[in-house]
Symmetry: D2
Subunit: 106 residues, 4 copies
């Protein structure tokens, strides 16, 4: 996400004085609510879905995720790279290649 | 997220030949699963939470969201700005200021 | 669920003095957290799943649902029949037969 | 849930020929989707909620849970008691009383 988009998300909340509702817990609830709406696009079929609807719901997940990053003062690249460090250790290429098993089943 | 981080996420899946599991539906399931793990950090308290755990689960949401953007060939700024256009119309400042009501209750 | 099972669920919480954590909101979070763990059984495949794991996670959903019924003093048959009244109106047999479309798309 | 209510849920799906959509995976998705709609009742507040809406969404969780029990041929009392056996071992009264910590943190 570029800085202009991030700034737009921040201004949207500021203009509406919504920071008061953006506790980390409320944002975590909001992310799962939007993620479930995204999943609803695939509720009865894995192949037929409304792409426009998918875009809107995925965008909602990303907006609330940005709100949570902001609320907690987190840097997206820092936390994602920290997690990728973990993932690369938990899922070594030689054991995980072509295998969707969870790390504790490898 | 910067290009280097995005490239790392892509390489991680490519190295493991995991693209075969990354159908849009499977990624939508994965996003909601990780979002619920994020929520679990706040299951019994809205004020006491393990920040490191929050970072890891939020990162998981963001990684799978990036996977879905990639799978569908979407541009994050384009879909987020499209959604912000909608949000700005649905939640006019004069009606929404300091008010968390859903748009259909405004 | 028979009365003996319901009583066991109630006694479990009472013995641990957990009613203090069982606000409706916390129980709603708990239901979605367990529902996502149930979904995790099907994360990468719709046909291969660990039935024992499915049973455990579905049971968790049902236990927290019973906790919420208790917390709000609700009768399960009353609320389910109230909802089935709505569903039968929203999804008339002649329009919905063999059709998974949501009611607003019928 | 009494037998009459269960029979009504079953007849509703049969009349609409919806068993074809009720794969275990689709039902697991449906349970988490409805659970998130239940959570939405508490998105911005833990104390102010629309009880009628809560009833409807909790009923939806219970209906899809019954559908999944039926699909897998499970007995609700059997799986809940099996899980309560586990819970009673994981959360001994002397360690868990008045303590919401997860079993691996006790």
């Amino acid at each position: 996400m570029n800085q202009q988009t991030i700034d737009r998300i921040r201004k949207f909340s500021e203009d509406r004085d919504w920071d008061q509702y953006h506790s980390p817990e409320n944002l975590a609830k909001s992310i799962v609510i939007e993620a479930a709406e995204l999943l609803e696009c695939f509720q009865w079929s894995d192949s037929e879905y409304d792409l426009q609807h998918v875009k809107e719901e995925l965008a909602d997940v990303l907006v609330y995720s940005q709100n949570l990053l902001d609320k907690l003062g987190l840097d997206v690249d820092e936390i994602v790279n920290m997690k990728m460090d973990q993932n690369e250790k938990k899922y070594p290429v030689d054991k995980s290649k072509g295998n969707a098993a969870k790390y504790d089943k490898l």
